[in-house]
Amino acid sequence: MILHGKVWRYGDNVDTDVILPARYLNTAEPKELAAHCMEDIDPTFVGGVKPGDIMVGGRNFGCGSSREHAPVAIKASGVTCIIADSFARIFYRNAINIGLPLIELGPAVADIKSGDTITVDLGKGVVANVTSSKNFTVQPLPGFIQEIATAGGLINYVKGEKE
């Protein structure tokens, strides 16, 4: 799968409270959640995000609360992939489970700036920054996780196992 989009760039330790504040957790409806995504650290995101855009963060992206509503909100905003130096573990797991691809790029993520256009080849594990003309290669996902991704998320994977 090849993804191509504009970058929304954030810093280190982006926590799930700022991705989706708990005051909106009285629903789990993706569209309602997306309407408040990132609003506490970037009020321009909800109005400006376009389908296909890519979110980029620094270290420990998605730390804090286990709320799956956070990756659900990002995905429902139209973002197709999140790239970060590193991810918090529950967020990583949740994103895989809902079929939102993540790329752990390490410190090389510093090259990617807000507004850059990047192309991601998930199959080959290549991130190309079109704006800066730099390419990065990443480790493929472990086999077990690829199986969940191929099944279209955890629920389909568990359903498939039963048959």
């Binding site: 009285n26 420990n60 196992e161």
Partner: protein, 420 residues
């Protein structure tokens, strides 16, 4: 090569002789927890699978975040979980009036025990490491799938050994231990890893201290935090857990990624400044900071020992006129004991409110939301931007002793400033 406590529990539940860090395994679960925020979406995912629950005795449903229901949407979410629990005959559903904050409640009623493997759709599920279980937070899809499958996948974490020595000084508690550790290693210092507490200092920590410490392992990025099972654990479990359980202990030649040493006798009461739990300073360095609100409670510090400490400090004092103090017992049992011991009377006489158990203000849900520019000292676990309300409000994390002293002074204060 030997195994850590975490590796032993994971191996046992995966049906393997041994496991090594980074190995992917499938493991059987002893308990799955959901709450009023994560229960409804977990049930939605569960229903898609079209299977019965794997074991009605091993699923726990606790409405605690937005209950007693704060608005219609919250009520609808809570109702989905309640209806499901009744329809599927879930044994451990706790209605308001019998519930508690999940991570105070589950250990209290004996639902978690040494050597067990527990997941919960709440990040502070790691609390149960205090009783020697492997427990970790997951999202609602993982929880929903596990409710059908009774198992889930794990990547075996590598471990950090936290070696505790010495004995805590007066006014220093479990919260100061874990905040100090997070200050040392950072909010991603144990990312994907297990924090394994050990050393002679463990015996100096009460179960309440251990529960507070394990509770915030996730604030260092850890997958879990775990304590050895000793005489203190056994004494705590004896009246609560009637089923058989088998504790694990780390092998002498278990491998750790690194060791962090903490001498408990050198610790001092600390505060974590906004907007990360790693911004830790001794209380003496931040004493000038004026405050608007104090919260004493939560899954981190809502146990009877925490309220006892707060009552000891607040007794005979009046809370500063500019400060709202909200005290939240972590369960009905804690509430009742606090009443019987006179703590509730002490709090009310001092000018505090005492709330029904709820996660409420900790995550900015209800019962104590901050306005722009307001500042709280809170015994909760996160001080992220906007965590307790307006994006321009601030949360200072501390233990109950500092929180109670701060309530009296109207600014961040050390316990010894208000006691003789």
């Amino acid at each position: 090569m030997g195994m850590t406590m975490t590796e032993k529990i994971l191996a046992r539940h995966a049906g393997l002789e041994r496991v090594v860090p980074r190995q992917l395994i499938k493991a059987k679960l002893d308990l799955i927890l959901v709450n009023d925020i994560t229960g409804a979406p977990a049930i939605k995912e569960f229903e898609k699978i079209g299977k019965p629950v794997f074991d009605k005795d091993k699923i726990v449903m606790v409405p605690d975040h937005f209950v007693p229901n704060k608005d219609i949407k919250s009520a609808e979410q809570a109702k989905i979980m309640k209806d499901f629990a009744r329809k599927r005959k879930i044994t451990h559903y706790f209605e308001v009036g019998r519930m508690g904050i999940e991570h105070v409640l589950l250990p209290e009623v004996g639902l978690v025990a040494p050597g067990e493997l527990i997941i919960g759709a709440d990040s502070h599920t790691c609390t149960y490491g205090a009783v020697g279980a492997f427990a970790t937070g997951v999202g609602h899809t993982d929880a929903g799938a596990a409710m059908a499958a009774g198992e889930t996948w794990f990547k075996v974490p590598s471990s950090i050994k936290v070696e505790l020595t010495g004995k805590l000084p007066r006014w220093v508690g479990g919260k100061d231990v874990i905040l100090t550790l997070i200050g040392m290693i950072g909010v991603d210092g144990a990312r994907y890893q297990s924090l394994e507490f050990c050393g002679e200092g463990v015996a100096e920590l009460t179960m309440a201290d251990r529960l507070t410490i394990a509770n915030m392992a996730v604030e260092a990025g850890a997958k879990n935090g775990i304590f050895p099972t000793d005489a203190i654990t056994q004494a705590y479990l004896a009246p609560r857990v009637k089923r058989a359980f088998s504790p694990v202990s780390a092998d002498p030649d278990a491998e750790y990624e690194r060791t962090v040493a903490i001498d408990l006798s050198k610790l001092t009461p600390v505060v974590a400044l906004p907007f990360l739990p790693e911004n830790v300073k001794p209380v003496a360095e931040v004493k000038a900071t004026p405050i608007d609100q104090v919260i004493i409670g939560s899954c981190t510090n809502g146990r009877i020992e925490d309220l006892a400490l707060a009552a000891e400090i607040l007794a005979g004092h009046e809370i500063h006129p500019a400060v709202r103090t909200i005290i939240i017992p972590g369960s009905q049992a804690v509430y009742l004991e606090a009443m019987e011991k006179g703590y509730v009377a002490t709090f009310i006489k001092a000018g505090a409110v005492v709330s029904t158990p709820t996660c409420g203000p900790c995550c900015g849900g209800h019962m104590g939301i901050l306005a722009a520019g307001e500042r709280a000292v809170s015994t909760t676990n996160r001080n992220f931007r906007g965590r307790m309300g307006h994006v321009d409000s601030e949360v200072y994390l501390a233990g109950p002793a500092v929180a109670a002293a701060s309530a009296i002074k109207g600014r961040i204060a050390a316990p010894w400033e208000v006691t003789s």
